[in-house]
């Protein structure tokens, strides 16, 4: 007989999403003895089957151009080697962009989400990052400070393993670090140029092990972190948090489960979550004691906004009207250059711990007034002898024509390119937000998000400063700059394209102007938490993942205590 009633079981904690936030919640709560049920909109992950680590481009006939050759015709097509499930476009799951806006949204539908492939940059916020309004009158202060979160940065770094060095730089607080790997050869040249200009260039802080940790081996330096690491030598929530949580016997995973809406009881409590089972295309319902959204900042906002009840006509936990507002991405600007003085460098294996071993933290916080723009940025660097792939020699081919000269130029110039990527802080503004598109649903019948995005002069001025800085660095090295790598007139990145979207259910002490309290608990609904980047009040130039880990960890401990006390 068909079952028409909701399943009678009441789940203690249901978590929606399995990335940095959901993975941390699942790991911490199961560790504290709590039963957790995790919903993931994509499939289960099998690193051995799914990660393309160590494959050569010639192991596949399409060499990485994708089976349909889409890399050649669609700039947003997926990257074959470094995406398990997801990308800039998801079949059947569109989003829309408002008139006059540009926005890109990268989504991963798989256990571990975007942590399977992300850059592993792991930067603590500075003390001043939590009080931006006090500093320059822009944005809003967080309801918590550095001291509140510091113990959770410690816990997160201790669990996931982060390399770094103790520098005592205020913009980039030191943490619990493993020894960093040695700088790559081209990075030594960049460091010398950087220091000549008075810019600190220090060991990068990345969630990649240089020593074994909790049964995870140290990095084997293949440089392919972006493809996912079968050995789990870098952090992914799938391998470092969710798989261990499964071993406790207290975590149940429902994969291919796409959350649609939250049901409340009319007295300010969540009772159920409704989701679509993607395998059967059937609607299902789970009863829960506590619900945690960690579906990614924008996806969590979408679920809240799609949950309209008589109690919450604008969406559950949205009495403030702030859900979806104050969306932020990171300011991105990149410049690459050819550095002729690197020609003839004795060839070596520069793969290392995939990506840069050094970086430049923000250095201008004391003379902000004189710079002409608020807030700061850090600089990520690129270079070395990367594994050749689709497009690696496209410029050489164009410049050289064809024939013997083409091959000679490729040999001469391989490994002589470097790049600088600025990653800066955006000030939240009233023109940048997401909302439900009234006219469009996805293939699961769920109304989709519509994005609006605007940079202001604060960000454009910052991007110009990045351009000046990068040109000065390139000039110092005797390099030849290649022009902005991004599309907008001033070279600033397209909103969302840095994949640091946060802020859509911000925390605050005032329930009229914020959605969450400092423990990521919604002001309106006690048993509802949002543990992804949605809680961010600002988006400093510190890539968000480590702070998502720390905030989710803190929220989870609070949640377990409140459950213990009978408050949830």
């Amino acid at each position: 007989m068909a079952r028409l009633q909701p399943t009678p079981e009441i789940h203690d904690v249901v978590v929606i999403g399995s990335g940095a936030g959901g993975g941390t919640v699942a790991h911490v709560l199961t560790g504290l003895g709590v039963q957790v049920t995790l919903l993931e909109a994509g499939p289960m992950l099998d690193p051995y089957r799914d990660f393309k680590e160590h494959q050569w481009p010639y192991d596949v006939d399409h060499r990485g151009a994708n089976e349909d050759g889409s890399r050649y015709l669609n700039a947003r097509s997926r990257s074959y080697f470094s995406t398990t499930s997801g990308g800039w476009e998801l079949e059947g799951e569109p989003y829309t962009v408002g008139d006059g806006s540009e926005f890109q949204w990268f989504r991963s539908r798989v256990i571990g989400g975007r942590t399977n492939h992300y850059g592993r940059m792991s930067f603590r916020f500075s003390d001043y990052d939590f009080k931006p309004y006090d500093r320059d009158g822009l944005g809003t202060n967080w309801p918590i400070g550095y001291d509140d979160i510091a113990p959770y940065y410690d816990k997160a770094e201790t669990l996931i393993g982060v390399t770094g060095s103790h520098e005592g730089i205020r913009s980039a607080p030191d943490g619990v670090f493993q020894d960093p790997p040695a700088p790559k050869a081209h990075e030594l040249l960049i460091k010398a140029a950087s220091e000549r200009l008075g810019i600190p260039c220090i060991p990068n802080r990345r969630a990649i092990l240089t020593r074994p940790l909790n049964g995870r081996p140290a990095c084997h330096y293949c440089g392919q972190c972006g493809r996912g690491c079968r050995a789990a030598s870098n952090y992914s929530s799938s391998q470092v948090q969710i798989f261990p949580a499964l071993e406790t016997g207290r975590l149940r995973i429902l994969d291919q489960a796409m959350a649609r809406e939250i049901v409340t009881d009319g007295n300010g409590k969540v009772t159920d979550v409704i989701y679509m089972d993607k395998r059967t295309r059937q609607e299902r319902r789970l009863q829960c004691r506590v619900l945690v959204l960690a579906a990614s900042a924008c996806e969590s906002a979408r679920i809240l906004l799609n949950s309209k009840t008589s109690e919450f006509p604008n969406g559950v936990a949205n009495s403030s009207g702030v859900v979806g507002r104050f969306l932020m991405d990171t300011v991105g600007f990149g410049l690459s250059a050819r550095v002729p003085s690197l020609e003839g460098l004795p060839r070596y294996n520069s793969d290392g711990a995939g990506g840069a071993h050094l970086y430049m933290p923000w250095w201008g916080w004391e003379r902000q007034q004189r710079l002409g723009f608020p807030r700061g940025y850090h600089i990520e660097i690129g270079g070395g002898y990367g594994m050749p792939g689709i497009g690696s020699f496209a410029r050489v081919a164009r410049e050289s024509g064809y024939g013997a000269g083409l091959k000679a130029q490729a040999r001469r110039e391989y490994g002589t390119s470097i790049s600088f990527q600025g990653r800066g802080e955006m000030i939240p503004n009233n023109f940048t937000y997401c909302e439900i598109d009234p006219d469009t649903v996805d293939r699961w019948g769920i109304p989709v998000l519509r994005f609006h995005f605007k940079w202001s002069d604060y960000e454009r001025d910052q991007a110009r400063h990045m351009a000046e800085t990068f040109r000065a660095l390139i000039d110092t090295m005797g390099g030849v700059a290649r022009g902005p790598s991004t599309r907008d007139a001033s070279g600033i990145s397209v909103g969302g394209s840095i994949i640091h979207e946060v802020g859509t259910a911000r925390m605050g002490s005032n329930s009229r102007t914020s959605v969450l309290n400092g423990f990521c608990q919604t002001h309106d609904v006690d048993n509802l938490f949002v543990c992804d980047g949605a809680s961010f009040v600002g988006n400093p130039d510190k890539n968000p993942t480590l702070t998502i880990n720390a905030l989710a960890w803190r929220a989870s401990e609070y949640m377990a205590e409140e459950m213990q006390r009978g408050n949830l």
Binding site: P57, Y58, G69, L73, A192, G223, P346, F393, A397
Partner: protein, 207 residues
């Protein structure tokens, strides 16, 4: 060898390569992967390659162009040796937009060659073939005003085939060996060789 055992032999070798990867020994992968790749080459040399998207004549024209774009020299083989024609044929069979680019471009090349020399591209002497490519490169360098003339479509197509031939070459074992990429290995530690550090230190002194 029948087709089934050919496939299974490939599978076995791929499994072997993966197993060696998993075992984490040193320079595991390059040799194993080259064996796998060589099998695809055997198929081609035996004349058993079945065209997927292009006609025999189109494939022959792509092959000649691939040889001219990336010629064999002392540092490595040619675009044909690297499998560029098969790569292009495969993607044309999977993508209608690319197929149209190639069919149209190759037909343009032949029509232009006929107008210039009265022959198809593949039948022309090498010097006449390179004369056409040189004209395309010159037109490209001269910029838009020039290419808007009768060479415009050829410049656009040559860009496509050059880009994809170069991709096929540098993503093949011979192209990777040509630029002496040393990575995709399993190491117990990361270090920069002292001679590379010395080289950089000299550059810093000159900076």
């Amino acid at each position: 060898m029948d087709q089934v055992s050919q496939v299974s032999r490939r599978q076995v070798l791929k499994q072997l390569a993966l197993a060696i990867t998993a075992a984490g020994s040193g320079a595991f992968n390059l040799e194993a992967a080259r064996v796998v790749h060589a099998l695809a080459g055997e198929e081609r040399q035996a004349g058993g390659y079945a065209l997927k998207g292009l006609t025999q004549h189109e494939f022959a024209t792509v092959s000649r162009l691939a040889e001219l774009i990336v010629p064999a020299d002392e540092g490595g083989g040619s675009g044909v040796d690297a499998g560029a024609p098969e790569f292009i044929d495969l993607l044309c069979s999977q993508n209608d937009e690319l197929a149209d680019i190639y069919r149209g471009g190759l037909a343009w090349i032949d029509a232009t060659m006929r107008r210039r020399d009265g022959t198809r591209f593949v039948d022309a002497p090498a010097a006449r073939q390179t004369a056409l490519l040189d004209a395309l490169v010159s037109a490209e360098r001269a910029g838009r005003a020039q290419t808007a003339g009768d060479l415009g479509p050829g410049v656009a197509f040559f860009n496509w085939i050059r880009r994809m031939t170069v991709d096929a070459y540098y993503t093949s074992p011979i192209g990777i060996a040509d630029v002496r990429y040393q990575g995709n290995a399993v190491l117990t530690g990361f270090e920069v060789p002292p001679e590379a550090v010395d080289f950089i230190n000299r550059r810093i002194e000159e900076m």
